[in-house]
């Protein structure tokens, strides 16, 4: 099968990864980054081709730009507020709307007040192409579940690939290594924004810098970097 050589390989737009004429009567499921052109499946986004047996293919790519999709947890910044929605920027092609009542126990009488520039941890509820996405500060069952405004701390931007790596399980080596020695809070948005908070500013700086630099390092290199940073932190405190 011609696709075997492409799975887990880096592909570039235009690469033909599957030739349907040579595969009879199989159902293939195509995820993001792939397109069907009569008999050939070709790539539309640069990234790594992944296969989930038996028949799901998709391209994993990492960009700065975020494409909103349903059930993603993202970090949004409030840009404006209207009578029935907050206008929130989530780094996508269009600003998103957060209904004023989409909070746990939200009624017309206890509408939260957010300033312009407030950072929120929200969940994407609707993301149709051509329409503004809709957000919510509750999970599917209506509970608050850690969604809502994030106070203090420091927010920085990264690529979508790094956010996915930080959120995977088993936990990413950086977070695990730091977690054993220092205490800090981190919120990761799939839209390429990460928020870090800790008791002292030097801890926040160290964790934030380490996360920013970890994208291109392998697991072993990440652990070495974290050890070096922790040593320096112990020297300075």
């Amino acid at each position: 099968m011609s696709d075997n050589q492409f799975v887990d390989q880096l592909v570039v737009p235009g690469d033909v990864v599957l030739d349907l004429s040579s595969m009879a009567n199989q159902t293939i499921k195509l995820g993001g980054g792939l397109r069907q052109e009569s008999d050939a499946i070709s790539v539309t986004k640069a990234g790594k081709l992944r296969l989930s047996k038996p028949n799901k293919y998709w391209v994993e790519s990492s960009q700065k730009r975020y494409v909103p999709s349903v059930e993603d947890s993202v970090l949004g910044i409030v840009v404006d507020s209207r009578s029935d929605n907050f206008i929130v920027d989530i780094k996508g092609p269009a600003v998103a709307f957060l209904p004023v009542l989409a909070f746990e126990g939200g009624t017309r009488r206890n509408i939260p007040k957010f300033e312009v520039g407030a950072l929120l941890y929200v969940r994407v509820v609707k993301a149709n192409p051509g329409m503004n996405p809709e957000l919510s500060c509750t999970d599917a069952s209506g509970k608050a579940a850690e969604f809502g405004p994030l106070k203090d701390g420091y927010m920085f931007e990264c690529s979508t690939g790094l956010s996915r790596m930080l959120l995977r399980s088993p936990p990413c080596p950086i977070l695990e290594a730091f977690g054993k020695k220092i205490s800090f809070e981190v919120a990761v948005g799939l839209n390429g924004r990460v928020w870090v908070n800790a008791a002292s500013p030097s801890t926040v700086i160290i964790v934030a810098n380490a996360i920013m630099r970890s994208e291109s390092l392998s697991v072993a290199q990440q652990k070495i970097m974290v050890e070096k940073l922790l040593q320096n932190l112990n020297i300075s405190t």
């Binding site: 570039v12 690469d15 700065k64 970097m225």
Partner: protein
């Protein structure tokens, strides 16, 4: 003037069917969603892609704008023509139906011009779009070819271009094998034109393999731009500072990255 000497070498020592040295770097503009610097010999072009994003007031944006350091007025005929041509080429390759009601801005700046600027702009814009993750049918690659001293020449530099001979610029989808751009200055007899266009198309395919290698290597290294350390960074972080800006020569980048 002799552009191809009796041994078959051109003014800069190349053979008639040899491309100039290609260099490319992704992620050069930290603020843009995707960017690329593309060099073909002495011609150097930087492209930055923003989008898709909300459609804004049209006054400040032309979807393509090219210019050189001398800041010619925007209405100058050559720039408008090149902008239009490049826009049509990229429109054919971006899948705009997946992104309704949004706009994609591609800014291209020619840093050094030594012939083949149109082709370099298209190659840089392709790489920048791939870097930004905008869905595309295929990379667009472009190359120019000419005909001097009765020899078809690939990838003209400025001296050869201004010699008054024909200059054919071809842009193709390398994998789909379809032509998206075909332009020619001056005149050529039809049979010679076929040879010259064939040569330019092959040049495009050679550039496509180079671009593919470059963007694959850049994806592995995952460079998304410069990150500035906040506050006073601990000493340990400094040793990692040079993992970032890699000037990518396809042959030597791997060894540069691996050395600790």
């Amino acid at each position: 003037m002799e552009f191809v000497n009796p041994e078959g070498l051109r003014l800069d020592g190349r053979r008639p069917t040899e491309l100039r040295q290609i260099r490319a770097e992704l992620g050069a503009v930290a603020k843009a969603d995707g960017s690329a610097v593309f060099e073909m010999g002495n011609t150097k072009v930087i492209a930055a892609v923003y989008g898709p994003r909300e459609v804004r007031f049209e006054y400040s944006m032309a979807n393509f704008s090219t210019g050189d350091r001398m800041r010619r007025p925007k209405g100058d005929r050559r720039s408008t023509e090149i902008s239009l041509v490049l826009r049509q080429t990229m429109e054919a390759c971006i899948m705009t139906h997946l992104m309704p009601r949004s706009q994609i801005d591609i800014f291209v700046q020619v840093l050094q011009a030594d012939g083949g600027t149109r082709s370099a702009c298209i190659n840089a814009a392709s790489l920048a779009l791939a870097d930004a993750g905008i869905p595309m049918r295929d990379l667009v690659t472009s190359c120019s070819a000419g005909y001097l001293n009765s020899t078809p020449l690939l990838d003209l530099n400025y001296v050869e271009d201004s010699a008054g001979g024909a200059d054919v610029t071809v842009g193709i989808f390398p994998k789909l094998d379809k032509v998206t751009l075909l332009q020619m200055d001056a005149k050529l007899p039809l049979d010679i034109f076929e040879n010259v266009m064939q040569l330019a198309t092959e040049g495009c395919k050679a550039i496509a393999t180079e671009l593919r290698e470059v963007s694959n290597l850049m994806k592995e290294i995952n460079i998304v731009g410069e990150h500035k350390a906040i506050g006073i960074s601990a000493r340990g972080i400094k040793s990692y500072a040079r993992w970032f800006r890699l000037q990518l020569c396809p042959d030597c980048c791997y060894t540069q990255f691996l050395s600790p």
